[in-house]
Symmetry: C2
Subunit: 310 residues, 2 copies
């Protein structure tokens, strides 16, 4: 049996990334009901909102689901408290040091997975006692690592150095890519962009349409001086590029970014001024489908892959 | 039969990238003798040197081999003339517009392949009449595309849009990665870094040792204002970063780069001041082996890949 399926007690080793503004109870429960692992994206939720989503998710599925928490979230203690109280069985942590919360969560019987962008961070997560790591490549939408290691190189490198299960993330939108990730060393996969463009995602309809319209080259990693982030090349992105050309300081860039850009873009559908965080694989996503249709397609494409020979 | 093997009349669809300062007749003939396709790297050769290497390569192998020419090479007319005179059967072109030379080469019965970093450039190559494209991802060493599309995303995107054979390049150093590239849509693969670190490569011993010592995160894409290039993070790289922090102009960066940096680093073995062009997969290369040993390993690793199921 697949090690990730066993770890989470799920049918398919396919995890839906817990993305800000995209991943509420509707998306997470739909993914879990279809045999994957749905994750609520706590990064864009106030504690009381998170609790509401957890309760609604429990009502919508009897299957396991989890929560993704960025470890730099200011109200993280409240998030952790709610997760423990509500007996959420699985937590994915990202963007921060896994040392602080892993032990506390694990002592409550919660499975803990940490998102890493490099071998070095994977080793730290391993030391912190996590059950698995998500190895997230340069292709991934949203916040990203400084080494810029791609999924194609990160997976074999993690496999070479890390003994716990590896979940591949970054650039995966098709069943063939899931297969390729497994050949490269992954035990399971995490897809963000593909599910952001699903019917059940809480992303704004404008953003979903922008995803399916995008082509190769539509995204770029930028704002490396603040936190590297992959986003769509829209008006806001062009403003950033202009600021760079003018020799903007980090403070000026931070000011340009401001607050609430991601919400404005992804949740409110302002395609010009909003921050549209999305992966490089957006170009491979052509239709807004239901989670059920996405699972059918991914599994069909995966099973179409035959044996290759040299 | 594999379409790339048929196109080039070779046993394995494994091509050795025609890299500057690494790819002389010893390397190219060894790769061809082992069933792959060896390429001479004309980018670092004066016309008379190229001719000498072609003649030596012919003497060292009866198998097909080719030449890689950067299309921006100043003396390109002389290179093309020599290739035609010496009846080299295969030419890979890169870094420039394939329109100008493809027809002339093809009218001489030469197979022409163009290296592309995006779907847009692949379509242009297709229009120019090339026999195949090399789809080179962000992971690749040396000069690189502006879209920063990775091998993991570029291959399925090329497969979706392009009907001619696709050779995957960028980040490939192992047999499993060759397999994954095929799952993603490649018909064949081109490996640079792996062969740069071979016994037969003309790279300086210091550089070869630096490759096998490197770890994940050892390389970075930089100098994007001039031509994006992936290189090892050595003293020269740190100087570039310092220049960026000081707000250097493109002219100042160009001056810092100067002339002959690549030769100094890769060929003369100056690890501090030289430009050490290498791919992100350098971290996966652990030993300096002969080309024969590399082929044995690649094919063994490839054949170890079994069927995956969901």
């Amino acid at each position: 049996m697949n090690t990730i399926c066993k770890l989470f007690n799920i049918k398919y080793p396919i995890i839906q990334g817990g993305m800000v503004w995209n991943s509420g109870w509707r998306l997470a429960s739909a993914v879990s009901n279809n045999g994957g692992l749905g994750l609520l994206g706590a990064g864009s939720m106030y504690p009381e909102i998170l609790q509401e989503h957890i309760i609604k998710c429990k009502n919508a599925t009897e299957k396991p689901f989890g929560v993704n928490i960025p470890l730099l979230y200011p109200d993280i203690e409240k998030h952790i408290k709610i997760i423990i109280e509500e007996k959420v069985p699985i937590v994915f942590t990202s963007a921060g040091n896994p040392k602080i919360w892993t032990e506390i969560l694990k002592s409550e019987g919660i499975k803990v997975v940490h998102v890493v962008s490099s071998v070095k961070f994977a080793q730290k997560a391993l030391d912190a006692g996590v059950d698995a790591v998500v190895g997230e490549g340069f292709e991934a939408g949203g916040h990203n690592g400084r080494e810029e290691t791609t999924t194609f190189c990160l997976l074999p490198d993690l496999k070479k150095h890390i003994s716990i299960p590896i979940i591949a993330a970054g650039g995966i939108a098709t069943g063939k890519q899931i297969y390729a990730a497994m050949v490269l060393g992954a035990d399971g996969v995490q897809l963000g962009s593909r599910f952001a463009a699903s019917r059940e995602s809480s992303a704004h309809q404008n953003f979903k349409h922008e995803i399916i319209k995008s082509t190769e080259g539509s995204t770029q990693l930028t704002l490396k001086e603040i936190t590297p982030v992959r986003l769509m090349k829209n008006d806001f992105y062009n403003e950033i590029q202009k600021a760079y050309q003018m020799g903007a300081t980090t403070d000026e860039l931070q000011k340009l970014l401001g607050k609430g850009r991601a919400k404005k873009g992804m949740f409110e559908g302002n395609l010009q001024d909003g921050e549209l965080e999305i992966g490089q694989c957006a170009s491979l996503i052509d239709k807004i489908l239901s989670v059920e249709e996405i699972f059918d397609q991914l599994i069909h494409e995966f099973n179409q892959v035959g044996l290759y020979s040299l």
